[in-house]
């Protein structure tokens, strides 16, 4: 049993939040819907769950059409599991009773067995009698997952499931959650605005733009390596973006010329340069090898605006030398330490591999 969404459009008044969205999620697969805050991704989840009235398109679970036209199966009859960012545990019930809430059709013995089973799965057996407010964020998340999985739903819907957790907990919990979801062989749709989370969790990935349109769908790796749209390219990490006009199969950027092989002269182009595309080199230091795909091997002289350590990397903000105060600045992550006030000249090189070119007139 999978979840199949076809041609769903949705508007709140005049404000269109979903524009012809389709997604097929077979059983056992995790689809991550990545998009900025405030795009329609949560609405799509609520439509799939039956918490929002479907306006256009259809929702199918296995062979059952649960929403299309005048058919609008209420949420309580769809058999989907839903997990919220705030976990939404029932504050007046303890962990066991929270998990038991959805197990209405089972006999008392079966119910207890199932509760034990899911609580064991999320490692919360010893907290069965605790009330939600006494639990940590990570424990609450586990209970929410157990509660949603307990009735063995065919479909799991996760709405920003990890953003309520702190950084370290988040990494641990998402790995656990991935394992549990995989073991349950459930069709999962997860929405998130965090690219790293989406890449980690997804079997397939969809990126939604701010207008409710799906901009790209594919394997996580593909979407990351070959973003189909400037918006998608910029969504993964803070990218630099410059615009210009192609000439002679190349486009001139402040950081040097970039090849644009399939372009006629005079195309308006947007060049997205990921921080990873920029290499900084301090004159006089022993040159690390500049990769073969670097454009203009001599690089461009720059002046550093700031260099702040992130531990493994240094976040460097700079501008092109001689460009003046008001000129746009660029940023990159330099591996290891980078001095805020280098004594000699610094040059920036870009690597074609992490540079993406888009027609900006389209």
């Amino acid at each position: 049993m999978g979840l199949y969404l076809s041609n769903i459009s949705h508007a709140f008044g005049d404000n269109e939040v979903l524009d012809n969205v389709s997604a097929d999620i077979p059983a056992g697969q995790i689809l991550c819907l990545l998009g900025p805050s405030g795009c329609g991704k949560t609405t799509l989840l609520r439509i799939a769950a039956g918490l929002e009235y479907l306006q256009e398109g259809s929702v199918r679970i296995g062979d059952n059409i649960v929403a299309a036209g005048s058919t609008q199966t209420p949420a309580e009859h769809r058999g989907v599991g839903l997990m919220f960012q705030d976990f939404a545990l029932f504050p007046h019930l303890n962990v066991r009773d929270n998990v038991a809430f959805g197990l209405t059709s089972l006999s008392e013995i079966e119910k207890n067995r199932r509760i034990q089973e899911v609580l064991a799965q999320v490692n919360m057996v010893e907290h069965a009698r605790d009330f939600p407010h006494t639990l940590s964020g990570g424990q609450q998340q586990r209970v929410a997952l157990a509660r949603a999985l307990a009735p063995k739903p065919a479909v799991m819907l996760l709405d920003e499931p990890f953003s309520g957790l702190d950084q370290n907990m988040r990494i641990q919990i998402r790995e656990e959650t991935l394992g549990i979801l995989k073991a349950s062989n459930v069709a999962t749709m997860m929405v998130t605005h965090n690219p790293e989370e989406a890449l980690f969790m997804a079997d397939r990935m969809m990126v939604m733009g701010p207008n409710g349109k799906i901009l790209q769908e594919g394997l996580p790796n593909e979407v990351y390596a070959e973003p189909a749209h400037a918006y998608v390219a910029k969504f993964f990490g803070q990218a630099n973006s410059v615009t210009g006009v192609s000439k002679g199969g190349q486009i001139e950027t402040p950081l040097g010329l970039v090849d644009v092989p399939d372009c006629e002269d005079g195309c308006n182009l947007e060049v997205v340069i990921r921080p990873a595309a920029i290499k900084l080199k301090i004159a006089g230091e022993k040159a690390k090898e500049i990769r073969a795909d670097a454009t203009g091997s001599e690089g461009v002289p720059i002046e550093i605006i700031s260099a702040r350590s992130l531990g493994r990397n240094t976040f460097v903000r700079f501008r092109i030398k001689g460009a003046g105060e008001g000129a746009e600045d660029f940023h990159c992550r330099h591996r290891g330490y980078f001095p805020e006030k280098p004594e000699t000249e610094v040059r920036a090189h870009i690597r074609q591999k992490h540079v993406f070119i888009y027609h900006s007139d389209i």
Binding site: F12, G13, N15, V17, S37, G38, C39, G40, T42, T43, R46, A49, G50, L51, E52, Y53, Q72, P74, A75, E76, H77, R78, V80, G81, L82, F84, Q85, D86, A88, L89, F90, P91, H92, F101, G102, T104, F131, H133, A144, R147, A148, P151, P153, L157, P210, N211
Partner: protein, 568 residues
């Protein structure tokens, strides 16, 4: 998508089940809201279709006096409560002096005493035959009232003082909450910018608390407009008294309705002021970080002054009257038992209990209906139906009685035509009519409390429960009601106690020979049998203390857990 659009999207999508189809919940919510709105609609309708125009007559005789007296009373009580309420709130919030912790909650206690009770108690003490004037006469050898001057308690001024003494807690409560919510930051900033403590009060704290104070004074004025017992007892000719006079003595319902409509103008102005202030209040929150204001240790005469400023209202508004009541009740308790005190108390309990249960049920229905679907229509009609708290009981009584009489007559006519039997009055003049009136008048208390605590439950809880297989009704029973049961109890108690105190509607609408504690107090007081009035009055005051305790607990509680609902 810009930010406001995004916010709108999020706001809408958090609502569960935004269905274009009408469902059972919505229909019942709309029906109930419409039912409760009938009395209010009736009174407004009467204004525009007078059967017999007595305006010219009224305007040439009593009306100018009614209006000026009402205005004078409202302004007087408004100013009195403003000074006492804001003053005591500021003192207990910012000064440190002996007894401050007790005053914090004790200053709410006068709320337990209805104005008509305190009025007869002070009259008993201060009138010509009372102990104080008697002692003065003894002392100075005076004999007749002509020998000396003594303020007449049964006067407009007396009514203003009586009502001020028991109504100031409204202003105190809201002003204190507003002062507590002001962040330490703004006051400290104003100090560092060179303002002294007095300037900090007048330039920063008071303007920030102004919306809350306006709300408090509006509520006080609504209560003043509602009052019947005090003005009747003191013979202060207000509009409320006018309604009674024209109705009961002149037997002119249309005329009473026309005066009632004039009162509605006052009410609308007050509601307008209150709503305006509530809207402004939202922008007056300076921060979400709360910290108790630093209290200044006051010394010497200031310490004594602070203590006295808090002690006087408490003494005159609660301690002294209660002492008098207990004293009077002790002497007359056996009399009271003999004259049917228990039956009367039973009537009051039953009436208020029924009203509390009904108001709670209606409140849950409306608040949950709003949560499920919202929608402008349902929202508007619910707000309209909750306007009863602002409308004086005498006016609402007219709005209840007229449609009920119409319904009774219609039923009677139909049954007579079909079966040749007269049904008489089925609804009018019954407990049903009275309970309905109570529910209309006190609905805002229950809707407000339930809506507020439901609002603190995230809509994701509903979503989670729905996907786990629970229908909206099951969610209400299994999730929402258990979570909000504390607030429901509070709401029920507030309605119950207001029902115990209610006088004007009860006097007009009660069944023949049906007495409640309030009507009994009123009758004994009117007959100057103050001792007889004491036991029922004490019973009302004793129940009235309950919500005061709840309120003070709720205020302390909400300060401790700003997260609110949830924890068991």
């Amino acid at each position: 998508m810009n930010v406001s659009q995004a916010a709108a999207t999020i706001g809408q999508s958090t609502r569960v089940g935004l269905r274009p189809l009408i469902d059972g919940w919505t229909i019942s919510s709309i029906l109930v809201a419409a039912l409760v709105a009938i009395p209010i609609v009736t009174v407004i309708g009467l204004a525009f279709s007078p059967e017999e125009n007595i305006w010219p007559h009224l305007a040439s005789t009593v009306l100018p006096r009614y209006v000026t007296t009402t205005l004078a009373l409202m302004v007087g009580v408004g100013i009195g409560t403003l000074f006492i309420g804001v003053g005591t709130a500021w003192i207990v919030t910012t000064c440190s002096f002996p007894g401050r912790k007790i005053f914090e909650w004790a200053l709410l206690l006068p709320l337990a005493i209805p104005a008509y009770v305190i009025a007869f108690l002070y009259t008993d003490i201060l009138e010509f035959a009372g102990p104080i004037q008697g002692a003065l006469r003894e002392l100075f050898g005076w004999v007749t009232p002509k020998d000396y001057w003594f303020p007449e308690i049964r006067s407009l001024g007396g009514a203003i003082i009586m009502m001020t003494l028991v109504l100031y807690p409204y202003v105190y409560m809201l002003a204190r909450a507003a002062f507590l919510e002001q962040s330490l930051g703004v006051l400290e900033v104003s100090r560092t910018l060179g303002r002294g403590p007095w300037h900090a009060f007048f330039d920063v704290a008071l303007p920030l608390a102004r919306p809350a104070i306006v709300i408090g004074v509006s509520l006080v004025m609504m209560e003043t407009l509602n009052d019947f017992g005090t003005v009747d007892f003191f013979a202060v000719g207000t509009l409320t008294l006018g309604v009674f006079d024209v109705w009961m003595n002149m037997n002119n319902v249309g005329g009473a309705a026309q005066i009632a409509v004039l009162m509605l103008v006052f009410v609308l102005l007050l509601i307008g002021a209150e709503r305006f202030a509530r809207r402004k209040q939202r922008f007056h929150h300076t921060t979400t970080r709360h910290k108790n204001l630093p209290r200044r240790e006051v010394r010497g005469w200031f310490k004594f002054g602070a203590f006295l400023s808090c002690m006087l209202p408490l003494l005159m508004g609660f301690l002294f009257p209660v002492a008098l009541l207990i004293n009077g009740a002790l002497g007359h308790f056996e009399d009271a038992l003999g004259s049917g005190f228990l039956a009367t108390a039973g009537n009051s309990l039953m009436l208020s209990g029924l009203a509390a249960v009904c108001a709670l049920a209606v409140g849950v229905l409306l608040a949950y209906g709003l949560r499920l679907r919202g929608g402008n229509f349902l929202n508007a009609i619910t707000r309209f139906a909750s306007l009863g708290y602002a409308i004086p009981g005498a006016v609402l009584a007219i709005g209840v009685i007229i449609p009920m009489a119409w319904l009774d007559n219609s039923i009677d006519a139909i049954v007579r035509q079909e079966f040749g039997v007269s049904t008489g009055l089925i609804l009018s003049g019954t407990i049903f009519a009275l309970v309905f009136g109570y529910v209309v008048r006190f609905l805002a208390l229950s809707v407000g409390a339930i809506e507020q605590s439901l609002g603190r439950i995230t809509h994701n809880i509903d979503g989670a429960a729905r996907t786990l297989g629970a229908s909206p009704s099951k969610i209400l029973m299994k999730v929402h009601l258990p979570i909000i049961r504390g607030s429901m109890l509070t709401a029920a108690i507030l309605v119950f106690v207001d029902g115990m105190k209610e006088l004007p509607m009860t006097v007009i609408m009660r069944p023949f020979n049906f007495e409640t504690l309030a009507t009994q107090v009123h009758q004994f007081a009117a007959a100057e049998q103050f001792g007889q009035a004491a036991p029922p009055a004490l019973a009302i005051v004793a129940t009235g203390i309950l919500p005061v305790i709840l309120l003070s607990l709720a205020i302390t509680h909400s300060r401790k857990h700003l997260g609110g609902e949830g924890a068991e």
